[in-house]
């Protein structure tokens, strides 16, 4: 099975909810658990929020989400054409934020990393950022073997 979708929307904070709910609805085909669904929703919310706050810094812009369902994996690419990240390892450090005044917790990338199986960030200054994430859905945890 290979099912794909492409979503493009304005970098408006009202669309954060729209983006995560749409991705969650699209992945229903994989029969995710409630926990897997909220993991993906959290990761999408973090990536989209980063694009709005940091990529476009509240200015106008467009965010695109490409989503692929392959076998039992969800593959997500969340892209902005904003200002880009000059130091990616620094940006990914937990608790690091360039915007403490906005009460950003600095946990965005840490949550994406914790809730997804794979996370890759590519960015070019003044061109934009792409967050590529994958998560296997419906994988049994080791404890399940003993049930």
């Amino acid at each position: 099975m290979k099912n794909q979708m492409h979503l493009e929307f304005s970098a408006d904070s009202a669309n954060e909810s729209f983006a995560r709910v749409t991705v969650a609805a699209f992945m229903m085909n994989l029969n995710p658990t409630v926990e897997e669904l909220s993991d993906v929703k959290t990761a999408v919310s973090e990536a989209v929020t980063n694009a709005i706050i940091h990529g476009y810094e509240g200015k106008e812009g467009r965010i695109s989400i490409r989503c692929k369902l392959e076998e039992r994996t969800i593959d997500l690419e969340i892209e902005d054409k904003g200002k880009g990240i000059s130091d990616i390892p620094k940006a990914m450090e937990p608790m690091f934020t360039t915007k403490p005044d906005l009460e950003r917790s600095g946990m965005g990338f840490a949550f994406m990393e914790a809730f997804m199986d794979e996370l890759e960030v590519t960015s070019t200054v003044n061109e934009g950022t792409t967050v590529h994430m994958k998560k296997r859905i419906g994988v049994l945890t080791p404890q399940d073997d003993f049930l």
């Binding site: 904070s13 009202a14 954060e16 909810s17 995560r20 409630v34 926990e35 909220s38 929703k41 959290t42 919310s45 973090e46 929020t49 709005i52 706050i53 906005l102 009460e103 950003r104 917790s105 946990m107 965005g108 840490a110 949550f111 914790a114």
Partner: protein, 106 residues
């Protein structure tokens, strides 16, 4: 299901019934309203009730940490109640749970 949060003052406690979803879109206005209560109404402690909340991302962690910093100056405390599994998970990952009073139901 409430789309907007609600506020109630009991003694020197502010009780905030949190909305269905908490993200960057509504986090700032929630923080601002709570801060007004802390400053103008002499609230010492803030209780966050998540019984209606289905989703929260790191913006919610920002609300909690920011309010903790405000009330901790006056020995105030932050109480959290009725969190679902998703909220508990991000709270534990964020490492801030040790600064909050978590109320469990019986």
């Amino acid at each position: 299901m409430n789309a907007v949060e609600e506020y109630k003052i009991i003694g020197d406690y502010l009780c905030v019934q949190m909305p269905k979803e908490i993200d960057h879109h509504n986090a700032e206005s929630i923080s601002e309203k709570i801060d007004q209560f802390i400053v103008k109404r002499n609230v010492n402690h803030v209780l966050f009730d998540f019984s209606e909340t289905e989703f929260m991302d790191s913006s919610g962690i920002g609300i909690l940490v920011g309010r903790y910093k405000k009330v901790a100056c006056f020995q105030g405390k932050i109480y959290l109640i009725h969190m679902n599994a998703q909220i508990k998970k991000i709270l534990s990952l964020s490492g801030i749970a040790k600064y909050m009073e978590i109320l469990e139901e019986r």
